[in-house]
Symmetry: C2
Subunit: 351 residues, 2 copies
């Protein structure tokens, strides 16, 4: 029998943050792709469009006029999935028909006044302002809400309906499924192994180097051992940090720098503005601010859909939806590809 | 405070089959959609294309020639994610770097010799042959493998790379994540409540009628109370059945009929060949064939991506990937829409 080679032999890997497994079948990359090809993102977004509701000076759906902002700009989502005052569906339900109250707020935050810029093309000082606002949001909304989910959907492929650089914040009075999973897994790990899961993990990955994409004094980006999406990455502080507001000024500058480097590599991979959903997970807030959260380590997930090229994505369908997530290249192969890419943005080279 | 109205007030619903919650924010349908619009599926597939490797008489990637089949046709996937003989990655792993062996087989099954037909347009007797083959597959592969996942990816939007009507079967020596979840949830429910989860559920839904889409003597299709995808459905037998091979001849005919009715309604909803991923979940096989599986009830899940029209889908991105699944209309609204649709296929009316 041949010896095990992760690039040739399918196997399962365990995701300790979600307590689930991913099927790694790297030999699948050999199959030719005859399926759906995506439209490459349009590259002709005007810098300013008075009809785009996210631009400075534009009128939004609710009739409000945006200020002539010159940095970040935050406003309430005009079509929020979570509202602060929804009545309670009541309790005392049959076990098969259980519902519960959901309350919260949804906000939108523009990163920059220009519509034709993205994070990797922004200046580190501009990215730093985004980070500061993120931290402020956790303080502000975290005072009341249990979970404050900051996330960015980038690219039409990821359901993003506006090219203007922006993210969203949905805060809720409940722990969402993914947060509850991360909470349970990190809690169990600390109890069992005496060290926070992601603190130990970052140290081991920094040592191994095999899955590291970029790193600096304060931060580490890896394609996690259990990555599901082809070029998924995990952004981790080296120090034990609970939440975004706990970051020092230095750590924030350093974060701006590593984000720019990571996102430049992403764009360079297929020479396209790389689509993804990303978001921050930190210790729960609200009433949890008072509790011992030492099992938690702040981190960000990047989930990009592309697999083979700017127009060929990974479909998480059929087997993935009904049975098990599956990937078509090893995390080590993905990390290797990303690591080797230059850190000068392809658009900068061309001009 | 206003009284709770599920169509107006966001709330969480519990999925007892997956032990997780879905956020129902039905008022979100009011927001205008300015994001990505899908290409409608092409309607000009030739009945026979000698270059299509799924057609009768075609040459496949491995050089084999398909027979001139006139009903269903099964062959080994030429690019299988699971192979029967992959070596073991070894045990004794660090808790953060765990892997395990995955072995299995992947097969493809054509439903019909024609490329320009789909299940809802096939004759009940032809669908019955598909059902019989499914049952045979569970017997054949289930003798060796723990889990035999039958699934159909329909439409380019669902990553399907060939228009010829077909499904796939991936059998494995492990319980995939989703199977393990369904196993645990159904086991716990029977223990706690003395009746199999989905047997009780089908009875209650048949009584309530509110979420029923179609039903007949042996089968029931509902938009489950906890549906995630906009028009997701759950197909359930009324009798307690463990696995597909346990179905009687009458139940199989009846299944062919209800599948045709459901899929016709799906196509009629937006007058398009409705994309979806579907698959069967039944009691685990292999060594489990010997065990008491009375907590299990056979069922099929249909996960269709469309939300507003033939070209506007639901994006499960950002908040859904990082926090919690969210839907934009109530399951009752979706069931109502589907129930009201005619059962004559729109393509039949036009000719
Ligand atoms: O097997 P296919 O049709 O080549 O591929 C399709 O189905 C598979 C199983 O759901 C997925 O892993 C692939 O991402 C998808 O494109
Ligand atoms: O809020 P948006 O940008 O209108 O909508 C997008 O992000 C939401 C949150 O991830 C998703 O629920 C939507 O399906 C997606 O289209």
């Amino acid at each position: 029998k041949p010896t095990f080679d992760p690039k040739e032999h399918q196997h399962l890997r365990y995701n300790p943050l979600r307590d689930s497994w991913v099927l790694v079948s790297a030999h699948r990359m050999k199959r030719p792709w005859k399926g759906q090809v995506e439209k490459p993102p349009e590259d002709n977004t005007p810098r300013h469009d008075p009809n785009n509701p996210l631009c400075p000076g534009s009128v939004r759906a609710n009739g409000e006029v945006n200020p002539e902002y010159d940095s970040t700009f935050m406003f309430d989502n005009d079509f929020p999935a979570l509202q602060p005052d929804a009545p309670d569906p009541g309790s005392d339900h049959h076990p098969l028909f259980q519902s519960k109250a959901a309350r919260g707020v949804c906000k939108v935050m523009c990163f920059h006044p220009w519509s034709d810029i993205t994070l990797p093309l922004m200046q580190p000082a501009e990215i730093r302002k985004v980070i500061d606002k993120w931290a402020d949001l956790i303080v502000e909304l975290g005072a009341e809400y249990t979970w404050v989910q900051i996330f960015e959907n980038k690219g039409a492929m990821m359901g993003c309906s506006n090219p203007h650089p922006h993210c969203q914040v949905w805060a809720s009075n409940f722990l969402p499924n993914e947060a509850a999973l991360a909470e349970r897994c990190q809690r169990d790990f600390l109890q069992k192994h005496g060290e926070p899961l992601l603190v130990q993990y970052a140290r081991m990955e920094a040592q191994a180097q095999e899955r590291v994409v970029v790193e600096n004094e304060h931060w580490l980006v890896v394609v996690p051992y259990w990555a599901t999406w082809p070029f998924q990455t995990l952004l981790l502080p080296r120090r034990h940090v609970f939440r975004l507001p706990d970051l020092t000024a230095q750590e924030r500058d350093s974060l701006a720098s590593i984000m720019k480097r990571l996102l430049t590599k992403y764009d360079n991979l297929f020479e396209v503005s790389f689509p993804y959903s990303m978001g921050w997970h930190g210790a729960p807030t609200g009433s949890h601010l008072q509790e011992d959260m030492s099992h938690w380590q702040l981190h960000a997930h990047y989930y990009p859909p592309l697999l083979r090229s700017a127009t060929i994505r990974k479909f998480m369908v059929g087997y993935e939806m009904l049975a098990n997530e599956q990937r078509d290249l090893t995390p080590e192969q993905a990390a290797d590809q990303l690591r080797k890419l230059g850190e000068e943005h392809y658009k900068m080279k061309k001009t």
